[in-house]
Amino acid sequence: MQFDVRLFALYRERAGSSIVTVNVPDDATVGDLSDAVRALHPRLAPPEVRIVVAVNAEYADDDQALSPGDEVCLIPPVSGGR
C-alpha cells in the first residue's frame, strides 16, 4: 500500500516537506508505516522516541492495521503550555 503521510511543525521542517510518500506491505501496521517514514528521514526524531501517529484524524496505536486510503499524519508533541 502507498500512503502520502502528512507531517506537521517540527517534523515538517526536519523532513523539509509536508508530505512523505511511503510504500508498505498490505498487512502493515501504524508502527510499520511510522518506521518507513523514519527510514527515509532518520533525523525526524531520536531513535528512542516514539512518534505519535493519527489515522483519519484520530490518535492510533502502533499495532493498529491500515487500510488503503487512510489519511495518516505524524503528530509532534502538542504545546502543553502553562
Binding site: F8, L10, R43, A54, A57, P76, V78, S79, G80
Partner: protein, 160 residues
C-alpha cells in the same frame, strides 16, 4: 461554538455564546503571546494546526467537559498562524449556574486542549526559534551543541 481561524479572535463573541439566563457564573480564559520565555525575549508566536483533527478534538473537549462538569456548553476559539506579543491565541469560555464549576471546567478545558488538540506553537526569538514541547524530539548532539553555544554566549556576556 468551536472556532479555528487565522484571523484575530473575538473573546466577547465566544463568551456570549455560552451565556444563558440560568447561569450565574461565566469564566473566560484568554491565552496571549507572552513577551518572554525562560528569560529570552519572544518576538512572536506561530501556530500550526492539523485543522480537521484539531476541530474534532476541540469538539471532544467540549463534549467531555460538558459531561464531566454537568455544564451546558463551552466556547473554544483557537488562532493559527502568526500571533504577535499581547495578542490572543486561545479563548475558552464556560458558563454554569455556580462559579466553582465554571472555574474548574474552564481550567480543565484549557488543560485538555493543550494536551490533545493537534496545534503546535513555535516561539520566535531575536536569534532563532523553537517548537514548544518538542524537547524529547531533540537529538542529544544538538542539545550539547546548544548547551556549549549557551556557555560560550554566557562567557562572552560576562566579559562586557
Amino acid at each position: 461554538m468551536i472556532i479555528l481561524t487565522d484571523k484575530p479572535l473575538d473573546p466577547v463573541a465566544v463568551t456570549d455564546s455560552v451565556r444563558k439566563d440560568g447561569n450565574g457564573a461565566v469564566v473566560t480564559f484568554l491565552g496571549t503571546t507572552r513577551d518572554n520565555f525562560g528569560g529570552k525575549t519572544v518576538t512572536r508566536l506561530e501556530y500550526e494546526a492539523y485543522d480537521v483533527m484539531a476541530i474534532k478534538k476541540m469538539e471532544e473537549v467540549r463534549e467531555s467537559l460538558c459531561a464531566d462538569y454537568c455544564i451546558e456548553d463551552i466556547g473554544i476559539a483557537h488562532r493559527t498562524g502568526r500571533v504577535d506579543v499581547g495578542h490572543i491565541s486561545l479563548v475558552v469560555a464556560v458558563a454554569s449556574p455556580h462559579r466553582i464549576k465554571a472555574f474548574e471546567a474552564c481550567h480543565e478545558a484549557v488543560n485538555r486542549i493543550k494536551t490533545i488538540v493537534p496545534i503546535w506553537k513555535k516561539e520566535w526569538f531575536a536569534d532563532g526559534s523553537r517548537w514548544v514541547a518538542c524537547e524529547d524530539h531533540e537529538f542529544v548532539d544538538e542539545a550539547e551543541h546548544r548547551h556549549a553555544h549557551a556557555e560560550r554566549h554566557a562567557a562572552a556576556a560576562g566579559d562586557d
